[in-house]
Symmetry: C2
Subunit: 221 residues, 2 copies
DNA sequence: TCATTACGATACTATACGTTCCGTTATCAA
DNA sequence: TTGATAACGGAACGTATAGTATCGTAATGA
């Protein structure tokens, strides 16, 4: 998810198909025999940090590349040397956030409720969760962005899928439950409440939602 | 949801707290004794139509007010005379879409599946559904927009709430099922699949999702 | 007929993305 | 040590677009 070089063809988002050279600490991106000053790893990290800071402070639509550059103490060119445009920068910065902690208590219900609570606490404290719908809404008319978002979305789903897989291994749920569907059944209601209804969501709401979602999934007895 | 006049204070979104004069066909917005040329109802409708057209064609982030004005055959000032900024225009245009048809078959499962299928057909055909997350993502840092979106979100939820209410009246589900939660349990998974996962969603997926969501809600037997 | 207000058109201001150039600096190779 | 190379921060620039202001004109009520 880190770009080292791209064709300067000027096509909007067209640069995203560039080769994604593997990054080495303080290394450079060009051909093996190239020389010159290496890219600064500190600058790279400062840019990502500044992006997240500003996303929290002013939100996605008010975030400017100029602002990120100032906050990070770098020139704008240094940003555009690494990311072809503002969108991939935001996607990468956002994608680096863990967002929540996966709980492994040995019981499906507890795992889900506690994991969702850490997610909610993070969301309510930073409003960073709202970045994702902002980006996701652009997907339909921007296939390249869609590709970028895929691993980010997957990363946010995976902990819940793993929780259900462990539950299946323990025999808490039937073998024939579709785990992907089950994960969406739990995450979906929370997401629509957060994004599409108003206000913040109290952690107290997590209990009833998970209970209702699980009532058709858990084995009886 | 139609603005007739607002204080020209220049504050971003601050104008939304203006009085919302009731609209009469071809009427004007000012005080009762005011004279002058009335606002054109044709222009108003043409602007909203052009906005929806362009939302489908180019998407939310590429939609320009200039483009709307040209498509509608009006001047930019005519748009800004009615809406304080681009965002409320998009919200209103989007809010006018029914989006889906509420089915009343006398059976909960059928109502949900058929209603969701019309929703999906519309979404897949126009990509217009993606406009909502684009807007919703801005909510956290824009309270005025949040207020605007509330009735739109409510309008999209209400058909599903009504479907569940009818089911309760028929005795298909227990009296103590929380209907708001139940609605989110069905709409939530579909929404996250559409917005946060890639690609389009096949109507075939509606069946299993609804079945799983209902498995914990429906009365047995 | 006159005052008033909306009309389309156009010029304008301000902001922000993304590019390009500058002199400087860090690294590698000869 | 010296030279080639490429990234650095900074700043100027071109383009696009939101929103404002102003033009002469058109529609309505008094």
């Amino acid at each position: 998810m880190i770009w080292e070089a791209w064709p300067a063809d000027g096509t909007l988002m067209g640069e995203l198909q560039m080769a994604q050279a593997e990054r080495v600490k303080g290394g450079r991106g060009g051909a093996p025999g190239s020389t010159g000053r290496p890219r600064s790893e500190e600058a790279h990290q400062a840019i990502l940090d500044a992006t997240l800071d500003l996303l929290v402070e002013v939100g996605f639509s008010s975030l400017t590349v100029e602002g990120v550059a100032q906050r990070a103490g770098v020139g704008k060119a240094t940003i555009y040397r690494r990311w072809p445009s503002k969108l991939p920068l935001v996607v990468e910065a956002f994608g680096r956030l863990p967002g929540f902690e996966e709980v492994d208590s040995g019981r499906l219900e507890t795992d889900l409720k506690e994991t969702l609570k850490t997610y909610l606490a993070n969301f309510n404290a930073t409003s960073l969760g709202a970045v994702f719908p902002s980006l996701a809404g652009e997907r339909a008319h921007n296939p390249e962005l869609s590709k970028l978002l895929e691993p980010v979305a997957r990363g946010r789903r995976e902990p819940f899928v793993r929780i259900f897989e462990r539950a299946r291994e323990r025999g808490e749920i039937s073998e024939d439950v579709d785990i992907d569907l089950a994960a969406d059944l739990v995450v979906g209601p929370i997401s629509v409440m957060l994004f599409f209804r108003g206000g913040t969501l109290s952690p107290k709401m997590v209990g009833p939602i998970v209970d209702l979602a699980l009532s058709g999934i858990l084995k009886k007895g």
